[in-house]
């Protein structure tokens, strides 16, 4: 194994070799030696000829020994260290997964390359980890091959909205366990905790883009308000192109600095989708907005309750997009009165009791913490008679009346155990919200076609979904197995119930999830902390044990170099 050098400045000692050569190029200075004329001066051959300082270098033992001495000293001075067996360091690069990093990907790659070069120059065996700052994403690369890591980096596309990088940075610190370093590559110093070494690769950009889609009240008319935000400090004139099928129409819009402009748009009849495009700027991710007509998922409701209840539920059903009354055979959910004797309906249902018992006093109604009852007030619920139904299993109570169960979930059914007609439940907002939440939950679990505009990367439960076809606005269409999430790209999607992609169950348009990512005013380039290899080297290596030997050899070489040549010795003798 080759050693690593903990003091690379020691290599400057190698400059001693050219220095020695230069010295040996110099002529020996002539010496005055008093001698008798009787002695011929054979031995006093002048070593210096007049007129020239430099002479041709002559091979000599002294020169070679001096060079050996310099080499030995250089070896000692660079402080070689030998790595212990099975030792390595871990270098973790945490990449800011915010979408706005798409504008700075080249800078991010260069920053990683620079750090890699520093690390590789230390020649310490290194495990490389490349991970995203989004704690929801798996590491992009983990291994020993820097080439593969760079390949993973090249394929990386940041796609998260604003998020807290600290959990991922803490994970990175845990991964290195004090034996390596973690670097955060980001676009803004605002994202970096004080304790984290980081490189900023951002810069302020004048960007404007779509910031939200607001459906108008009457959704069936497919009208929206589109928010366009100018994040820069300057007014912008932009062209807005509306593409419907193959036709495009353009208009110019003026966007005031740091303000939101709302545009009204409407889908023509018989058209199901459109794309809005702003003329491009430095960040193109928010310049396109695909839109599809909203078609709600069907929910068939069988209603068999008393007259008053029926009127109430018909009104409630009319407020739920996609819901309609149907026969019992086709129903996804039943609204019925039932009891244990007549048999409780299976599957999703809203059940009322058929028999009641009068209550002398009405105890306080208390809600259990549950998604269906969250933030709803029950203080105003007045009921004179309580039903005789009892929960078949404990644990799913939604409302208590004193110590008795008033409403609960029985398997998939919602049981409201009081006399509806003798209560004020039909005038209570909480009751309507509870019923609506329940029906929407049933609707979400129903298999059926619908379409909607959704945020990219959003989780979307589509029962029975098998495949998804993604048609990004920038890039080639592709298909893959549906994993419960919308794609990261902006574009159109179709989800199919079968692998042959014949039965579509969802059509959608995906838009950027977080409008804040279009604001580059806080982006900057900076460096916080350094990637020092010294501490790590000390931990995982041992110093060269033969330093005394090299010093002894250097001394020996030096002394050998001091042995004068034959003539010099004779001169000395003279």
């Amino acid at each position: 194994m080759l050693p690593v050098f903990s003091n690379i400045y020691g290599f400057y000692a190698l400059l001693g070799i050219p220095a020695l050569l230069a010295i040996h190029f110099l002529q020996h200075r002539s010496k005055k030696v008093n001698t008798s004329t009787l002695f011929l001066i054979d031995v006093l051959i002048p070593e210096s000829r007049t007129g020239r300082v430099w002479e041709k270098i002559r091979n000599s033992l002294a020169l070679w020994m001096q060079i050996l001495c310099v080499l030995m000293l250089t070896w000692v001075l660079v402080k070689p260290r030998w790595l212990q067996e099975n030792t390595w360091q871990t270098i973790v690069f945490v990449l800011d997964d915010s979408i706005n990093m798409q504008a700075f990907k080249t800078g991010a790659v260069q920053a990683v390359e620079r750090d890699m070069a520093t690390v590789q120059s230390s020649r310490i065996p290194t495990h490389w980890v490349l991970m995203s700052s989004s704690s929801r994403k798996a590491p992009l690369y983990r291994g020993d091959d820097p080439g593969k890591m760079m390949a993973a980096l090249a394929e990386w596309t940041p796609r998260s909205g604003e998020h807290d990088p600290v959990p991922a940075l803490r994970t990175a610190q845990a991964v290195i366990s004090g034996n390596g370093a973690a670097r955060f590559i980001t676009s803004s110093k605002n994202h970096v905790p004080d304790w984290q070494a980081a490189i900023g690769v951002g810069a302020p950009l004048d960007n404007a883009g779509f910031a939200g889609l607001i459906p108008e009240e009457q959704a069936a008319e497919a009208r929206w308000r589109v928010a366009v935000k100018n994040n820069s400090g300057l007014p912008q004139e932009r062209e807005l192109v509306t593409r419907i099928n193959e036709q495009a129409s353009a208009q110019n819009i003026r966007l005031n600095p740091r303000s939101v402009t709302e545009l009204k748009i409407q889908l023509p009849p018989a058209v199901n989708s459109m794309v809005l495009e702003l003329s491009p700027d430095a960040f193109d991710r928010d310049d396109k907005l695909p839109i599809v007509r909203h078609i709600p998922k069907p929910l068939h409701i069988y209603l068999n309750a008393g007259e008053e209840q029926s009127a109430y539920f018909q009104k409630l059903v009319s407020t739920i997009p996609g819901a309609r009354l149907s026969s019992e055979a086709n129903a996804h959910v039943r609204i019925v009165a039932a009891d244990e004797e007549s048999g409780m309906p299976g599957g999703p249902a809203i059940i009322f009791p058929t028999r009641f018992e009068k209550k002398e006093s009405i105890p306080v109604v208390t809600a259990e913490p549950n998604a269906l009852t969250r933030d709803l007030g029950w203080g105003g619920l007045l009921f004179g008679e309580k039903g005789t139904l009892k929960p078949r299993r404990p644990g799913n109570v939604l409302l208590w009346s004193g110590g008795e169960e008033l409403a609960w979930l029985d398997d998939q059914a919602l049981v409201l155990n009081w006399n509806w007609t003798a209560s004020n439940a039909d005038r209570l907002p909480s009751t309507a919200l509870l019923l609506r939440r329940y029906l929407e939950t049933v609707q979400a679990g129903v298999e059926g076609y619908w379409s909607a505009n959704v945020a990219s990367n959003a989780r979307l439960s589509l029962p029975g979904a098998a495949m998804i076809r993604v048609s990004p606005l920038s890039g080639e269409p592709y298909t893959k197995q549906y994993a419960g999430y919308m794609p990261d790209e902006t574009g159109f999607v179709t989800v199919f119930a079968d692998r042959d992609m014949k039965e579509a169950i969802f059509d959608g348009a995906t838009y950027p999830p977080d409008a804040r990512q279009g604001d580059f005013s806080q982006c900057s380039s900076f460096e916080q902390g350094s990637l020092s290899q010294d501490d790590i080297l000390q931990k995982i290596s041992t110093p060269d044990p033969f330093v005394p030997l090299w010093l002894a050899i250097a001394g020996g070489a030096l002394m050998t170099a001091w042995i004068p040549g034959k003539r010099e010795r004779e001169q000395t003798r003279l």
Binding site: F39, G377, G379, V547
Partner: protein, 849 residues
């Protein structure tokens, strides 16, 4: 200096022999001799020792509540054994710690710091700051092994410093412990809405046991019941509802019939916030404040309080406007004053301070926590001062003053800074004396005019050191009085700074104080501690008889501002009690469409100055042109100052003004600000150490969100410190943002979500149980990690600790010597080549034939 390989010195005779045997090598030449000498030295691998290997054992004694004094009572014995077996030059140094840490030789023999947490990492930092890095240092921790703060950073610091931590554990022998855990309750609810409070009772006893419990709310009688604890667990559920908006605290308690070894974990505290409505909290000395009816006439719920001492930060929940009407700053608890800043700036609340003899500078609000919020500055300018002041400062320098107050400062340092800031606020013509008192008074500064001596006086005060023992109060008062008696200034005042838990020998203080009052000398007290400390009553009595104020400071960090408040209220404030004409300005038009017909004059007012950026609605028509009604926006909230009295006898003219009601209604409406827009719902949830905020918004609010991204801030309050943290909102899905904070257990939190100009406040929330009594296996594991990872061990044989290897800090110098050899060798080569000799040659004689 020592040598790692001294055997290489055997080369020296060999080199001498070579030099003698082979003279042509010229080893005797100075340069070559030097080269060889350095080379041999380098071969011997010299190291320079940074110390002599003497060892310091840092005996860290855990004084926290959960340790139950076991380490403390054994300290003397352990220190005795260590001292008996130590070697020459070794030392045993005792550090007492719990929430703070102090070296015993610097502090009291008995530890006076708070014991409600085990801050071992803080104590390690303290030791690292005190340790001599050239000596061998080793820790011996005497503890029950339940630290209440993370130790990761401490472990790393010890590892880097090469310091080993040994432990001597004093474990608890619990037979059967019952404790409250897993508390569930809504953090927010609506008025009148019933909700559930649930908690578990956990035990290490599996046998079925009936445990009585009680739950109390405020001053109401507690609700009681029993729960059966079986297989180590039982559950309690109750229903309650709250009718009025605001925050309500619940205290949960279990009462095991057998004696419980850790009664402290039998209690828990929770908060429930009732949302809705907007109310005004009116802090007033008047039984029927004249402002209240006019506020109520607008349909505002007004909570009047005549007992400012009972105020707590939670009272600001549901409050849209806080009015402080002529109430002394010292009468308001410091944590409430501190919480007002966050309430206004982040939670969007309004603050109105109304004038009177007990408000503004005269009321002690200068340099208080709310000074930056007020639109007027309160310290009297020098050119407006008419009376000379003599002030005597009597400083406690007892042992408790040497306790660390963080950032490397002791409480004595902070008290010194406080006294220095008081001196700084005195004018050149004023006089001051300073005494440091332990068992007798020591004159630090005799009664001296401040002007030419300000720097000298300040330097002397900043050098006061704690010397141990307690403060002899009578001696201190007498010394201060004698100093003041030497002057005949218009205002003569004594500030007694003393430890509320260690103020001794009061003697005949009442007689002194009565005599001082007769001579026109007033006395205020700044007490280090709380009102529940053993000598607090004495100090309160001194302030009462002295005709001054009393302030309590828990940890000393606010001492400089308390000294400043007191100085300004005595020497640099002016309550002008004379009929003064009012001059309206155009400023009122910023908050109301119509300017009122102001009254011609007011009876009195507090002289103050308009701050930059503030707007005055009217000013005094006298030589000062002082702002009488001023306002401005601060963060998300608004603040106003009415410097003349709005009630009491000094407001008789103003109360007769027909526009009084309209004035207060208009001002309060503006101060209450804008309500949060419709379509936003904030859901704070505290689960363990994780506070999650969920912000839901309707589609209609998308443009508002696009314009103003939400931001959130929480104020984390402890008895001594207030920290504001900001969070990151993640856009989870359309209509839903989530923001998460990680909190330390036991922290009291209030917060706000800001959406541009709007603010949605929430809280308070707090971790229901005291971490000191959590005593979980995780805490124990972390403690043992500290010991193991630093190379320490559990010490049973204490004598053995001195035999541990002592590796003194060393630095090798071989590389420097190698550089020297390298350089000299090159020079030698050059000189040899050029034939230059450094030795004087003998004149060569011609050899005879």
């Amino acid at each position: 200096m020592t040598f790692t390989s001294p055997e290489w010195f055997f080369f020296i005779p060999l080199l001498i022999f070579i030099g003698w045997r082979y003279p042509f090598l010229k080893l005797h030449a100075p340069l070559r001799l030097l080269i060889l000498a350095i080379l041999v030295l380098a071969l011997a691998r010299p190291v320079v020792k940074l110390g002599n290997g003497e060892m310091d054992i840092w005996l860290m004694v855990d004084h926290s509540d959960s340790a139950m004094m076991k380490p403390v009572v054994n300290t003397e014995e352990i220190a005795g054994i260590l001292n008996k077996y130590k070697r020459d030059g070794d030392q045993v140094r005792i550090v007492d710690f719990a929430r703070d840490a102090v070296l015993r030789e610097k502090g009291d023999p008995s530890f006076e710091g708070a014991a409600n947490s085990t801050r071992l990492a803080t104590a390690i930092d303290y030791v690292l700051a005190e340790a001599d890095t050239e000596r061998v240092n080793r820790l011996l921790i005497l503890s029950d092994g339940y630290p209440t703060e993370p130790l990761d950073a401490g472990i790393e610091k010890l590892q880097k410093a090469g310091i080993t931590a040994d432990s001597r554990l004093f474990p608890h022998s619990f037979e059967t412990d019952y404790r409250i855990a897993d508390i569930r309750h809504p953090s927010r609810t609506h008025p009148g809405e019933a909700f559930l409070i649930e908690f578990s009772i956990l035990s290490n006893n599996n046998a079925a046991t009936v445990i009585p419990w009680e739950i109390s709310r405020g001053d109401s009688p507690p609700l009681t019941g029993t729960a059966t604890v079986e297989n180590g667990k039982g559950r309690v559920r109750i229903t309650d509802r709250l009718l009025t908006p605001g925050a309500t605290a619940y205290n949960l308690r279990i009462i095991p019939e057998k004696e419980d070894p850790i009664p402290q974990n039998n209690i828990a505290h929770i908060w429930v916030e009732v949302t809705g409505g907007s109310r005004v909290l009116l802090v007033t000395p008047y039984a029927a404040d004249p402002m209240a009816p006019f506020l109520r006439a607008q349909g505002i719920d007004v909570i009047e309080t005549n007992d400012p001492k009972a105020l707590q930060p939670a009272d600001l929940t549901g409050t849209k406007l806080l009015i402080i009407n002529n109430v002394l700053a010292s009468a308001i608890p410091s944590d409430f004053l501190r919480s007002i800043n966050f309430y206004v700036r982040e939670q969007g609340g309004g603050l109105l301070m109304c004038g009177g003899r007990n408000s503004f500078g005269a009321g002690g609000y200068f340099s208080s926590a709310i000074d930056p919020l007020l639109p007027v500055s309160m310290e009297l300018r020098n050119e407006h001062r008419k009376l000379m002041t003599s002030m005597s400062i009597v400083m406690d320098r007892s042992g408790s003053m040497s306790v660390s107050a963080g950032l490397g400062k002791t409480k004595m340092d902070l008290a010194n800074s406080g006294a220095a800031s008081a001196i700084d606020l005195l004018s050149d013509n004023d006089y001051v004396s300073v005494h440091a008192v332990d068992s007798s008074p020591h004159s630090i500064v005799p009664m001296t005019q401040v002007g030419p001596n300000r720097a000298k006086i300040t330097n002397a005060v900043l050098r006061i050191e704690s010397t141990g023992g307690g403060i002899f109060v009578e001696e201190g008062i007498r010394a201060g009085w004698e100093s003041l008696a030497k002057t005949n200034a218009g205002t003569r005042h004594l500030i007694l700074f003393s430890d509320a838990a260690d103020s001794e020998v009061p003697g005949n203080y009442k007689a002194y104080l009565d005599q001082m009052q007769k001579e026109g000398i007033t006395v205020s007290v700044i007490a280090l501690g709380t009102t529940s400390d053993c000598d607090a009553k004495l100090l309160q009595d001194i302030a009462l008889h002295g005709g001054g104020r009393i302030f309590f400071s828990i940890d000393g960090n606010d001492l400089p501002s308390i000294f400043a408040q007191e100085t300004v209220s005595v020497a640099r404030s002016a309550y002008i009690k004379e009929t003064t004409p009012i001059k309206p300005t155009s400023g009122w038009a910023q908050i109301a469409a119509k300017s009122p017909s102001w009254p011609a004059a007011i009876d009195a007012y507090n002289l103050s100055y308009l701050k930059d950026g503030a707007t005055a609605a009217c000013i005094s028509e006298d030589e000062y042109n002082a702002p009488l009604a001023a306002f401005w926006s601060r963060g998300a909230g608004r603040a106003a100052a009415v410097s003349f009295p709005m009630g009491g006898e000094d407001a008789s003219n103003f109360l007769k003004w027909p526009g009084y009601g309209d004035f207060i209604q208009t001002l309060s409406r503006w101060l209450m600000g804008n309500s949060a827009p419709e379509g936003f719902t904030l859901k704070p949830t505290l689960q363990g150490e994780r506070l999650q905020l969920e912000l839901l918004y309707s589609d209609e609010n998308i443009p508002l969100i696009a314009r103003n991204a939400p931001s959130s801030a929480i104020e984390v309050m402890s008895p001594t410190q207030t920290t504001v943290l900001n969070g990151v909102w993640e856009h989870i899905e359309p209509g839903r943002f989530v923001c998460t904070f990680l909190l330390d257990e036991g922290q009291f939190v209030r917060g706000a979500v800001k959406l541009g100009e709007y603010s949605i406040p929430f809280g308070p929330l707090s971790s229901p149980t005291n971490p000191e009594w959590e005593m979980s296996s995780n805490q124990k594991e972390e403690y043992m990690n500290l010991v193991n990872l630093t190379g320490g061990k559990e010490r049973h044989d204490l004598t053995d600790i001195w035999n541990e290897p002592r590796t003194p800090k060393q630095r090798g110098i071989t590389v420097y010597l190698a550089w020297a050899v390298f350089g000299l060798a090159l020079i030698d080569a050059l000189l040899t080549r050029l034939g230059i000799s450094l030795m004087r040659r003998k004149k060569q004689e011609i050899p005879s034939p």
